[in-house]
Amino acid sequence: MSAAALCLAIIFAIIAAGAGIGFLAGIRRRMDLEQWTVAGRGFGGVLVFLLMAGEVYTTFAFLGVSGWTYSRGGPTLYALAYLTLAYVVSFFILPPVWELGRRHGLQTQSDFFRVRYGSRYLTAFVCLVGIAAFVPYLQLQITGIGIIVSIASFDTIGRTPAMSVAVVLLVGFVFAGGVRAVAWVSVLKDVLMLTAAVAIGIGVPLLCFGGIGPMFAALAAARPAHLTMPGATTNLGHGWYVSTVLLSSLGFYMWPHYFAAAFTARNADTLRRNAVVMPLYTLSLAFIFFAGFTAVLAIPGLANGDLAMLTVVRRTFPPWFLGVVGGAGALTAMVPAAIFILTASTLFAKNLYRPLIAPGMTDDQVAQLARGSAVVLGSISLALAMFTSTTLVSLLLISYAGVAQFFPGVVLGLYWRRATTSAVFTGMVAGVATALILMLTHRDPWFGVSAGFLALCLNFALVVLVSLLAPAPHTDSDASSGRFELRPSVG
């Protein structure tokens, strides 16, 4: 068996095993809307952990972090900081969100805004921004599958067939099993990805330089500036670091799919415990840094940094291992792609189509529409990935800055009774517009500060200001003890 055929067989076996797990997870369960979107709110700590970890470590983490380490160096450290701090933020946000979710039967992020602020237009705006933000993210994952599989198969599989097979399979298991399928595929994906990351992070420096220590010693001697900020860039200094870490960690759980993952938990305590231990998972990302830094000296001059890790693995490891990395990498793209499709199609059916077009729909009809939308969305994103280039990374950064603008509405909505609908709407529109304008005119960073962070500050200030302009609500016992009931209050 040739090296390429061996790789191919391993990649195919891993993808097939992942898809098989997904189909089995959803079998023999009646998939109503509650099962499909939040798995009946029955996940314990381990499954919630694996689902969230499965969603977080996308191809952007896998290829993007090693690529940034290779091409930009020091500034990439922001990824280690913001991921850790995002879990710290989640400690304060997800448990109360879950509590409201149980009380009001929330299944999506837009449901939260509808119940807290009671405005159709605000809900539709949140929903639209969320869906739009998914488009480049989804396409990036699918493009990533094509890149990973074609490199790992020694170019024997083209990008288009690889992407097509992966999309058909992932849409299939999403359709059949909803979020339960995604969580169970995550189990395989997390195990493989973790193994691959550790093996690469230790193995690549070992084979190229005789160890991690000697590799850093060589890099510190040859390219010391690459190891600190601003690294190989001119504008990603400490101001950029602080503002980007704040923006990314505060905005992280504002992604509709992370937000909705909270609803799958069995209770609020599960989420609180997870928030405590999840930072440890960020350690796996440190190994990706080792591989990326090794590539700087081992394979200099690559035009596309995103290929650095796979290229260095292909040069240093035996072919069968490249197959494992290829399979793990493909699942690393498929799991997030699956949850994006699931979340976006639920948002479309439940929070956009039903309230605005067909208010009379039952939950079962919404579930049917959502599952149908998942198929349509999968096809559209596959077509986009086939026919457009990969310049979408810049659009993805706009998406991150865009969803972060939900933060004031969520956190003040939870903890500040006076936050009004019009204030949150004003702040959010201003924040999204500011982020869009600054980033589309290439002012990110602006005066050394992340554009999305500037937009978030403006947004937050506007929400507070406009809320204070409204007449103060009657102070009753609820307000004085720092609690409030959301309308309509149930239970």
Binding site: L77, E99, A220, Y241, L280
Partner: protein, 71 residues
């Protein structure tokens, strides 16, 4: 929703200070720790220390819930 306790928020601010606000104090190569540049080893250390801070915050919040009879 009941606001989190000041102590829990203060504990959460420790990792924020260590990993984010203080970047100019630790963003350097020397001294290398276990062969890693100082900035990278600092962040890795705080990835491990953050759960410790949050464990204490968890205990405080759990005790408060038990006191007020909330779930």
């Amino acid at each position: 929703m009941r606001r989190p306790s000041t102590a829990a928020i203060a504990l959460a601010l420790i990792p924020f200070t260590a990993m984010c606000f203080s970047v100019s104090l630790w963003d350097r190569i020397e001294p290398m720790v276990f062969g890693l540049p100082f900035n990278l080893s600092w962040l890795i250390a705080w990835i491990v220390l953050t759960p410790l801070c949050m464990t204490i915050a968890y205990r405080i919040e759990a005790a408060r819930s038990a006191e007020s009879g909330d779930p």
